[in-house]
């Protein structure tokens, strides 16, 4: 795969595909680390309640979400950078099966 320049802000929210093109969840967050002068990506957070983090009024948020019928899906996953395939930026996918991924703590 040649060098690719991708607009990160457009990746957020895209559905991440697993083996067999099954939708795993939306890409919610990207964790990076400053190494020297560069900012390198460590892992991607997929299909989690990181959306709750963003709307982080806990009691209010849960109450409102319950009001709108958003029931708990299964918790999200942490995907190490090497297992995340961005060769098609519109359809990001996993390189490994979901079972090998660490879960995201809520």
């Amino acid at each position: 795969m040649a060098k690719q320049a991708i607009r990160l802000e457009l990746l957020i929210g895209k559905s991440v595909l697993g083996v067999g093109n099954k939708v795993i969840g939306p890409l919610e967050e990207i964790v990076a680390e400053q190494r020297g002068g560069a900012l390198v990506i460590q892992e991607y957070h997929v299909g989690s309640y990181a959306v709750m983090e963003r709307l982080s009024a806990w009691s209010i948020g849960r109450a409102v979400l319950r009001l709108f019928g958003a029931t708990r899906r299964s918790g999200g996953y942490r995907v190490p950078w090497a297992e995340f395939d961005l060769s098609d930026p519109d359809r990001p996918r996993l390189r490994c099966p979901v079972s090998e991924l660490a879960p995201l703590r809520d």
């Binding site: 060098k3 607009r7 967050e29 990207i30 990076a32 560069a38 990506i41």
Partner: protein, 118 residues
């Protein structure tokens, strides 16, 4: 650091504390066998418009090119290495007065603000 929570859409300040816009986008470079890394911060209406949809992005690019020339079609790019500090706001080691970021503001001042004693 979490890029969506802590970096994207956050306020940029230059080395004198002058506000320089918010981080509208981040450029990610991906290549086989290497860890992906963020190379540039991106600013500009074209970046924001693209976040709303590809049609919206194209329309704003056309308008920008028509008013400001072809180079305005592209986002303003600031190398990640220019970041001085990351806190509540993101501080850059740049003097905004000397950078192309001030172009629109300077043009507005010349054409309009200065004429009315501002």
């Amino acid at each position: 650091m979490d890029l969506v929570r802590d970096i994207l859409d956050k306020q940029l300040l230059d080395q004198n504390g002058v506000k320089m816009g918010k981080i509208d986008g981040l450029l990610l470079v991906v290549e086989a066998g290497r860890q992906p890394h963020v190379t540039h911060i991106q600013l500009g209406a074209v970046v924001l418009a693209r976040r709303l949809g590809s049609l919206c992005g194209r329309i704003v690019e056309e308008i920008a090119a028509r008013f400001g020339g072809e180079e305005r079609r592209h986002p303003i790019m600031i190398p990640w290495s220019k970041i001085a500090d990351i806190g509540v706001d993101i501080e850059l080691a740049i003097d905004s007065r000397k950078s192309p970021l001030s172009d629109v503001a300077n043009w507005l001042n010349r054409k309009i603000t200065a004429r009315f004693g501002g």
